[in-house]
Amino acid sequence: MIVRRVWPSRPTFESAFAEMDDRLRRELVRRLDPSYGNGSPEPAAGVFPPINVTQDDERFYVRAEVPGIKPDELRVTALRNRVAISGKREIPPEHDRVSYHRRERAEGSFSRTVALPTEVDAEGVDARYADGILTLTLPKAEEAKPRQIVVKT
């Protein structure tokens, strides 16, 4: 039987990986990640809650996924260009004698601060909670709003 040798000597696990180019290795690690293939291009920040920020000419919109939290357990503060969201998620214990099969939902306190590109009018901030999503609407400060400039001929 003829065995074709790819590596000059018997390859160890490490030497096989050393042959690989760094990019290929990163790609492999990425594919081994359980979240790969879910189609999410966003890097998992590993923090709670995940936050999306969008803007239009007048406002910023900050949305956070905070399922199962009572609105009065959420604290939102805004100062200059910073918005802080903090709170506590509690999962009440089940009083019946139950046996758990899975426990994946996390509980505990959280706190996050997001720096926005420009300052906001802290007085005009609106916070709403629906279906486990916290939505903050933050009007941009007057001096941060874009102005239309008329081009004269």
Binding site: G39, N52, T54, V98
Partner: protein, 128 residues
């Protein structure tokens, strides 16, 4: 040999619509009467959620409508609205008529009562 390989390669059917699919985090616990499933599904409205139980397979499926208006441009993106999908095989027999599903603040609470005959019975041992 090849037949065992084929059965191992069995895969969930793909969805026809493209887009991200997320598995919601769940707590599952049971007592003598029922199995309870709690699932985090932020952004899901009650009319978008489908809960299905057939052939002992429980399916949770919800499509989230993105809340952003067309005029908004993204600044920071840490999560995407997509589809929540997860399936579980239940070994116990569930009383289909008494299933109760409640969606509160993005958390689904699914109460699956077991049928009478599946409930364990305490048997008293008498001494003569």
């Amino acid at each position: 040999m090849s037949s065992t390989e084929q059965s191992e390669m069995q895969k969930d059917p793909e969805q026809t619509r493209p887009g991200p699919v997320y598995a919601p985090a769940v707590d599952i616990f049971e007592n003598d009467e029922a199995i309870t499933v709690l699932a985090d599904m932020p952004g899901v409205k009650a009319n978008e959620l489908k809960v299905d139980l057939r052939d002992n397979v429980l399916t949770l499926h919800a499509r989230v409508t993105p809340p952003e208006a067309a005029s908004e441009t993204p600044v920071l993106r840490e999560y995407a609205a997509g589809t929540f999908f997860r399936q579980f095989t239940l070994s116990e027999t569930i009383d289909q008529a008494k299933i109760d599903a409640k969606l509160t603040d993005g958390v689904l609470r699914l109460h699956l009562p077991k049928v009478e005959r599946a409930k364990p019975r305490q048997i008293n041992v008498r001494s003569e």
